[in-house]
Every structure is written in C-alpha cells, then in structure tokens.
Symmetry: C2
Subunit: 168 residues, 2 copies
DNA sequence: ACGTGATGGTTTATACTTGAAATAAATACT
DNA sequence: AGTATTTATTTCAAGTATAAACCATCACGT
C-alpha cells in the first residue's frame, strides 16, 4: 500500500513540492533578514559615530519632518510600526534635547501633538543628507535599473503578508 | 554660462538622475525594513504566544541544530550577526533551561563549546515545525514561482552591500 | 622563564523593544 | 446625572542590543 506521509498536504500541491516551497520561503526570509540586519547595523553605526544619534530617534524626526503642523502622538506608533510604550521615552528625550515639542490638545486633553522645532528641523536635514549618501554608498553596487523592480516585489510581498495577517 | 549645481556629480550621471536614484534607493530600503519588521513582529508574537519563547533564543538553537558535535561559542555572534556580549545572557538562560550545554575546551581554556541537549533538540524540532508553517502561512499570498527570483535579487543586494562595507 | 600582544568571553552602561497593567480623559448608555 | 466602555498615553518588568572596558588564557620572541 501507499505510505501515508505523517503530514498530509494542506494544499493540492504534492508533498515534495510543498517541502521545496517551504525551503524557498525560509531562504527568502533569511535573506530578507540578513539584508536588513546588514544595512541597519551599518547605518546605526554611522549615526552613532557621526551624530551620536540613534535610528529610532531619527525615524521619529523623519515622520515629523513631513508634517509642518505636527502630528498626533498616537500616529507615530502606527507609522513606525513600534509599540506605543516604546515611543514615550524616545519622545521624552527628543523634547528634552529641544528637537521637538509635545503639547496637549485643547479639544481632547488625552491627545498630545508633537511638532518639530526649528532646531530639530535643522538637525534633521543635516542628518537626512548623510543618511541618503550612506545609503547610496551602500547600495551603489546594486544595478540602478533593478532597484524599482526589487522594490515592487517587496511591495507585493508586504501586501501578501498583510493580507495573510488580516484574514484569520 | 552653465549654472553650477551646488553638489557636483560624483558619478557620470546627471544631477536629476542622481536624485531619482537616491529616492529609489531610499524607497527600497524602507520597503525592505517594512517587510522585515512586519514578518518579524508576527513571528515573534506567535513564538511568545505558542511557546513562550523568543526569536533570539530560537536562532541560537537553529544554529546548533545543524551541528551535532556542537559549536565554538565564538562562532555564534558571527553567524547570527549580533554582538558577542549580547549572546552571553541568552546562552546563559538556554543552559539554565536545559536546552544546551556549555563546556570549556580542554585544548584552549578560553574557548567554550556549546551543544544542544536531547531535550533542546526535541523542543527545537517542535518549534521549527511551527515556524515553518507560520512562514508558509504568511507568505502564501506571494506567488511561489517568484520566490527564488526575489531571493536571488536579495542575494545580489546583500553582496553589493557587503562589498561596499569591505572597501573603505 | 618572561614580558608582550593577540584572542575568547564576560561585564557594564546605556538604549531600544515589547506586552501588560495602570491612569486619565472622553464618549455612550442607561 | 451617573455608570460603563472606549481611547490615548504612561509606567513597568523582562528581554534584546550595542560598544567599550575588562579578564583570562594562549602564542611568541627574547
């Protein structure tokens, strides 16, 4: 008789193909993680050495830079994909350092509006410029005419993952 | 006369194209980061909920699983791309919990050999199985026939970044 | 033997990160 | 009005991460 595999296929694909797809997915995930870790580590190192600044702090400023009238504090965790509790001390310190302001809203006293200061904006521009050139330096070896295609594939991947997380 | 741009081109490309390439590179980096953050967050959540385990701990076990005779401790930071100091408490706790052993080498008393225990191996297999199916679930919406191509592009990207970091 | 320097790990200080609990203010419902 | 629920944010405990300082051991040249 035919030997029953211990894990019956959940899709119409054969067991062998299923295994192959598993491996391909794992490989993709590991590459994705490796690329991100590699680039992130290098950018972090340079931020620290050049500006004595951290990436999470920079990320907050980057969001605020596009919002001249400031942003509701609660918007930051969503955009940066981090937890709310995480942002409190980061925002605290940015306020302390004079890069941003945090003012309670008059209409809803639970809500806080965060807004970049002139000084913060100046510091951000300086760092953003370096950030851009560092990135350009790191990615210089990757063919420019394949950048958009890769970005597109990552977009598709992101969409697929989001859908999968939405469903259940 | 021709107007001199304030930042002379570092490459034969025109200023406009250079700007466009900057933006394309930044877009790519942001997508890369978004994909990784998204998947990592979901995997971490499931690890915690299903197994009360963390990804760094899993990553250590994953490395050790492929090494029946164990691994020199110093090999782990390199493979996992984390700092050595970071691993000490993680390895400590894995030893405490009986998943791995840490024994000093007889030939060189500075060196430590870490090796998975039978129990650790069993626990790892169980978690790895779930990890694989979670990943399959998350990536199910991405066409299987484009997995390898994307992985290949990420490989190229990784290579380019590594080269750029080696040079200077 | 004996410095001298290189190597493997740990420790320490600081910062980020999460999830869960707590607080406080607004809204909805009797 | 008064209670309950929701929403915005902070606090807290535990874990992860780095860089830099440190300690022990090995390797080598004298």
């Amino acid at each position: 008789m035919a030997l029953a595999k211990e894990s019956p296929p959940v899709s119409p694909r054969s067991g062998v193909d299923q295994e192959a797809e598993y491996r391909a997915q794992t490989r993709l995930w590991l590459r994705l993680l490796a690329c991100t870790t590699l680039i992130e580590g290098e950018l972090r190192r340079r931020f620290r050495e050049e500006f004595d600044f951290t990436m999470p702090r920079f990320d907050v400023l980057a969001q605020l830079d596009r919002e001249p009238s400031g942003l509701v504090l609660g918007e930051l965790p969503k955009r940066l994909m981090v937890s709310a509790g995480n942002l409190t001390p980061i925002v605290d310190r940015l306020v302390e350092d004079g890069f941003i302001t945090r003012t309670p809203s008059n209409l809803d006293r639970r809500v806080q509006i965060v807004c970049m200061t002139v000084e913060g904006r100046k510091a951000f521009r300086r760092m953003a410029k370096s950030h851009g050139s560092w990135l350009a330096e790191l990615l210089a070896g990757f063919p420019a005419d394949r950048l958009d295609a890769l970005t597109g594939e990552l977009d598709a991947l992101k969409g697929a993952v989001k859908d999968a997380m939405q469903k259940p």
